[in-house]
């Protein structure tokens, strides 16, 4: 009897696992198709006389990029200072606190700038994308696009995705600078190293490769944020409440995806 029960629950567990896996693979496949199709519209829309509109991209770029500047600056600056504090504290043990610049330069440019920028954009623009698409689906605006012969991927998704792929690396570059600057100011105050000397050292330490490592990652984050926002927005059901749900899910999923991808990327590239 008991054996039967465990058998059953084991079978159920396996079945659930199987279903979950199938759904996961399906979802991944859907994401892949989405990226592929959107790229297709970006590349060949003009030839088919259905271009991705530049003004729509521009609007999205303002929204995603320019609007995020204050918060990105604040976060990048804060993290720069935090790295400086912790770095100096740690290196004091070895009496090597003047070497803190090395740690700051690498960790800001390779790690923290792309990460914090990605997380901010996920919170601001990934959620906005999911909410906008979700609302449009609920209000039948997506259906309206379809029946007008306007592909929603071209009309809505492509501009948002292009804007993210331009603006997330741009913002990352910006937070590289702000993070390094803020850390430099702190180091200057604490260790009496001049800002000029600090930046000389930073430039000496960093290679183009380090910069590209961070920017490459941020471009990947941009795609993740965009795709996760779109897929969640598109899967909305159940009215306004549903929109709230998918918006939250989009943010949580994209931040998780960013952090995990960050690790994998670092592992694959650095090893």
């Amino acid at each position: 009897m008991a054996e039967q029960a465990t058998d059953n629950s084991a079978a159920r567990f396996v079945e659930r696992l199987g279903r979950g896996t199938v759904r996961g693979v399906e979802e991944l496949g859907a994401c892949g198709m989405l990226v592929f199709e959107t790229l297709y519209w970006i590349v060949s829309g003009r030839r088919m006389r259905q271009p991705v509109r530049i003004d729509a991209i521009f609007v999205q770029m303002m929204e995603t990029g320019i609007g995020a500047i204050p918060i990105v600056a604040l976060m990048a600056g804060t993290i720069g200072v935090m790295l400086a504090i912790q770095g100096i504290h740690t290196l004091k043990i070895f009496g090597a606190e003047t070497q803190v610049t090395v740690g700051i330069a690498f960790s800001v440019v390779r790690e923290f700038a792309p990460l914090i920028t990605g997380i901010i954009v996920a919170g601001r623009s990934g959620s906005a994308l999911a909410a906008r698409l979700g609302t449009m689906k609920i209000n039948q605006e997506i259906d309206a696009l379809h029946v007008m012969g306007i592909n929603p991927l071209r009309f809505l998704v492509a501009p948002a995705l292009v804007a993210m792929m331009v603006m997330v690396p741009a913002l990352t570059l910006f937070s590289d600078f702000v993070g390094l600057l803020a850390a430099g100011l702190y180091v200057g105050v604490d260790l009496g190293i001049s800002l000029a000397a600090y930046f000389d050292r930073v430039i000496e330490i960093l290679s183009v490769d380090d910069l590209m490592h961070g920017l490459g990652k941020s471009a990947l984050f941009a795609i993740l944020i965009g795709v996760i926002g779109v897929v969640n927005g598109a899967s909305v059901s159940g009215g306004a409440e549903g929109v709230g749900k998918v918006t939250t899910r989009a943010v949580v999923q994209s931040i998780a995806a960013i952090v995990v991808t960050d690790m994998i990327f670092a592992f694959a590239v650095t090893r």
Partner: protein, 278 residues
């Protein structure tokens, strides 16, 4: 109310044969067959949840049948290439139930969007055309308002203007007068009649308002639980002997009644999760 007889046999613009449709495991349409001819106003009626909107979505190629065929303007929807579907879509107009105006655009921009996307007209011409259509629906002068600034009836009329901006051969309207006061609802009925009379558009209207249906319909299709209960003229429907149909006609109040599924979903809190599709 019926149209003057055309000299040649009227062309069939919509042909639905044995349409079967599922949402997930649930069968919604159980073999629906219906035809609409050129210049005809076909009204689809039936209780809440009987599959009216679903049938309409099939006619607009927003859903795909499990079996059966849908032909629009002589073309089998399932056999069309993306390109052909794109061309066909320029010949149909849709006024959705809630209007489905794009909330980030003004009324004028909404109405001009199809022109913007599908034609090479210069902006002035587009504005004039939008203005003309707004005249038709009695909304001239409201171009620069946002949809959120319009009343329910105005939204429906603006949606109608957008639906006819490309001068479609077929116009679909889902519940055009639902939720409107009788005067506004009646104005929309008049508008639909005018559109048909002026340009010979075929119109498919989903409604559960009997009065409106009787006023505008050339023929009426009555759906019940995904099956066609009746297809015929207004007169035939009025005089139909079947008790089932008479009951359906007389239980107006019940039309507002709960959609069984929505009710169950609310009770159980189980959600039918939507597919990630745009």
């Amino acid at each position: 109310m019926t149209q003057a007889a055309a000299p040649r046999p009227p062309e069939r613009v919509i042909e639905v044969e044995d349409l079967v449709s599922f949402y997930g495991p649930r069968q919604i349409l159980r073999g629906v067959s219906v035809e609409v001819v050129e210049g005809e106003i076909m009204v689809i009626m039936g209780g809440s949840g009987s599959g009216k909107s679903t049938l309409l979505r099939h006619l607009m190629a927003l859903e795909w049948p499990t079996s059966g065929t849908v032909r629009l303007l002589g073309r089998d929807l399932a056999a069309l290439s993306a390109r052909e579907m794109f061309e066909l879509r320029k010949k149909i107009g849709v006024a959705f139930q809630g209007g489905a105006l794009f909330s980030s655009m003004t009324v004028g921009e909404n109405i001009m969007l199809p022109l913007h996307e599908h034609t090479e007209l210069d902006p002035t011409t587009m504005r004039i055309m939008a203005r003309l259509k707004l005249e038709v629906v009695d909304l001239a002068g409201f171009e620069d308002l946002m949809p959120s600034e319009l009343s329910g009836g105005m939204i429906k009329r603006a949606a109608m203007a957008r639906a006819i901006i490309m001068d479609p051969k077929i116009l679909f309207c889902d519940e055009p007068s639902a939720g409107l006061d009788p005067v506004v609802a009646s104005a929309i009925d008049d508008l639909i009649l005018r559109l048909r009379d002026a340009v010979g558009m075929s119109v498919v209207v989903v409604t559960h308002e009997l009065e409106s249906a009787f006023k505008i319909a050339d023929r009426i299709t009555v759906l019940d639980k995904g099956e066609t209960l009746f297809i015929g003229t207004v007169e035939e429907l009025r005089n139909h002997p079947s008790e089932r149909i008479q009951n359906l006609l007389n239980r107006r109040a019940e039309d507002e009644a709960v959609d069984a599924d929505a009710y169950m979903r609310r009770l159980t809190g189980v959600e039918v999760s939507g597919a990630a599709r745009l």
